[in-house]
Symmetry: C2
Subunit: 449 residues, 2 copies
Amino acid sequence: MKSLFNPRSVAIVGVSSNPEKIGATILLNLMKNGFSGKLYPVNPKYDEVYGLKCYKSVKEIPNVDVIVIAVPAESVVDVIKEGKDKAKYFIIISGGFGEAGNEKVTKELKEVGKNLKIVGPNCLGVYSSKSLFDTIFFPYSRLERPKKGKIAIISQSGGVGSVLLSLAARYNIGINSFVSYGNAYFLNENDFLEFFAKDKETKAIILYIEGTSDGKRFVKTLKKVAKKKPVIVLKAGKEGKAKEAAKTHTGNVAGDYLSYKAVFKKAGAIEVENFEEMFDVSKAFLNTELPRGKNIGIISNGGGLAVMASDEAVKLGLNIPDLSQKTKEFLRKEMPSYVTVANPLDVVADATVERYEKALKAFMEDENIDMVCVNILIQQPTINNSIIQKIASNIKKPTVVCVPGGNIEQEVRKAMLTSGIACYAYPENAIKSLHKLYEYAKLIGVAKR
Amino acid sequence: MKSLFNPRSVAIVGVSSNPEKIGATILLNLMKNGFSGKLYPVNPKYDEVYGLKCYKSVKEIPNVDVIVIAVPAESVVDVIKEGKDKAKYFIIISGGFGEAGNEKVTKELKEVGKNLKIVGPNCLGVYSSKSLFDTIFFPYSRLERPKKGKIAIISQSGGVGSVLLSLAARYNIGINSFVSYGNAYFLNENDFLEFFAKDKETKAIILYIEGTSDGKRFVKTLKKVAKKKPVIVLKAGKEGKAKEAAKTHTGNVAGDYLSYKAVFKKAGAIEVENFEEMFDVSKAFLNTELPRGKNIGIISNGGGLAVMASDEAVKLGLNIPDLSQKTKEFLRKEMPSYVTVANPLDVVADATVERYEKALKAFMEDENIDMVCVNILIQQPTINNSIIQKIASNIKKPTVVCVPGGNIEQEVRKAMLTSGIACYAYPENAIKSLHKLYEYAKLIGVAKR
């Protein structure tokens, strides 16, 4: 699939002279934002568009890696017929097939495309942060693209997919590749899962799915892929009316949610409940190691935060062990007398960066502790940004950091993430993410207790 | 308590010449950020601090509305003794009492202060967005203050309280008054609840509590107050180690969580699980009316979002009814043929602002629907910011709006909120908030079905 995400040449069928139309937006995105492959716009009406030669039909273009199709549903079949020997991959952006009840044109498309490698129809197609190949028909001014990174996103829904990209941009999370595959008449989630499992530039996979058309293959694929790389999955269309809505959305039956849930669990996929958890968990998988057990150590300079983190840990079945004798002795010596030496450890409101460093070192060496959650009220005048490097250089166990608060704090969270620290806005989210790491570690046999 | 939140004169005991110390930070915040009351710094060491006359002891100052105390724990009792007839209210910022195991000085303080109106000790004190009276010892450069608004925040924890303020600032949520009351040896959550229940400028109350020292009064007060105004409560220190942590935090026993939960439910307080939900729910209570039943209508221009919103609604027990015959006929006439007329209503990717307006109007008039969730992928080129005013002017039922995505979308969410629309980043959060409105409406008898 390298040709799909990193094509050297691309034809776009259905490029209007109106720059707000879908085909034109795709072409202009590619021209303006750094894609370096060759571009072949196709539209019988023009000889030239946006300064490029325009081709009357796909029959006229040379062979290319990808043909992107953005013409009305009733013309898609003809384009495929004419171009079927011209490209390695096809992306059909156009909707108006099974999801809209148009059975005739759907049947024809399935027939003509059956031996071809086609993404869609009814999708956004692909985005690669490396090649900047990008068939998402939203201009950059309306949809921010994320920075380069190690996550691959597979989204059945185009709308949800676009939201995921702009959220990743906002939260400074790097994306490698993205695909929105829509109705999945040809290539489907399984093909993409298999590709990203092998892809060396992908460290974790995000999957948004409403329903699969090939349940058996999905179970098998997921099982295989989830063992190689974390697959973070959000299943929508769970019950009743939501299932019906999913059907009119991409034409796939959402299926029995409990069966999906069981499949995810058995396969070792990491199920999340919503967008926020999806990225929270991704951050943990990208930035920290897997824990070897369920014993968590909690450090905080605000009692309330320690309490909230502890609540969540207890709720999820993590264990908050006593500190080892050695740690206790060390901390009693190193902490001021008014610090109660315990786990959770409240290093108290006047904690300095140095005090945090000592506490962190002690927790890293304590054999009772498998993973650590560090909470920091950076509002405290005794804390400054040097704490970021101090934490980064002392992490030796799975560790998450929580820096709660608004705009000022968000800058610190970003800086933490840039330093490779999984940093969160809310203590529950930090703990939830560690818990997902633990569950996965348990499943693949890394966690022993 | 008007004198506490809107004092005309304030003494600050323990003002150092080092501007980073607690007392000095409080004085400088008041001097620099618009507080217009008289200020009396107290410190035996100086004749003048920061250009103000400095008093040797509280004995020397004239009568004031509030004395703020920021001296070491062992000196607090003496300050109270000397100043007990000098002020209507006292705020003891200093920690080092019961929470640190110092029983002797705690006992003395309780004795000398027993007939006085004292906030604390071990707290941040108060903040008023109206008077700009502010005893929070973080400079504005480290802790952003929120804009003026209709919410009162009562937080047992200072750290959590400061986080709540900076979150409100980030999410553009207006705050009226704030109090962090710490160990609560004198004034406690009940006194503040009673005050804000009567306060005309407060429309909803946020309460963060770990444990109460007077359970009976708490139950009675909450019951009374929750009927007058929504009380949104977050209880931390739920189980095991988290409960222990709460005790070393403000010295209060966190108590049996299930009892608290039962009390909240019985009293009609709205319990939330975390910071995020706290503000989500507040937004709904401030910006929309209470629903008269549990029937929800869902509109979306992205199928995936409709599916996710529906999932959450079903999960929480809301009902997604069929549209009335009249609505169906209207929509079949007004929507393009490829829009499936149903609830949830997917107005499809190419929906314009006008199409949204028609759908919204139809849902507002449909008697099967009690409340509405509008989801908008504003990335779509057919949508523009005029949708904000169109929605604002057509809302006639409890309505929440979800605009999912990153930075570009956050600006739209802010603008929605400024226009009085309860707007959310995630469909689940929007639905959860509506559900809390419904629960409250049911409890106070507004919702009949």
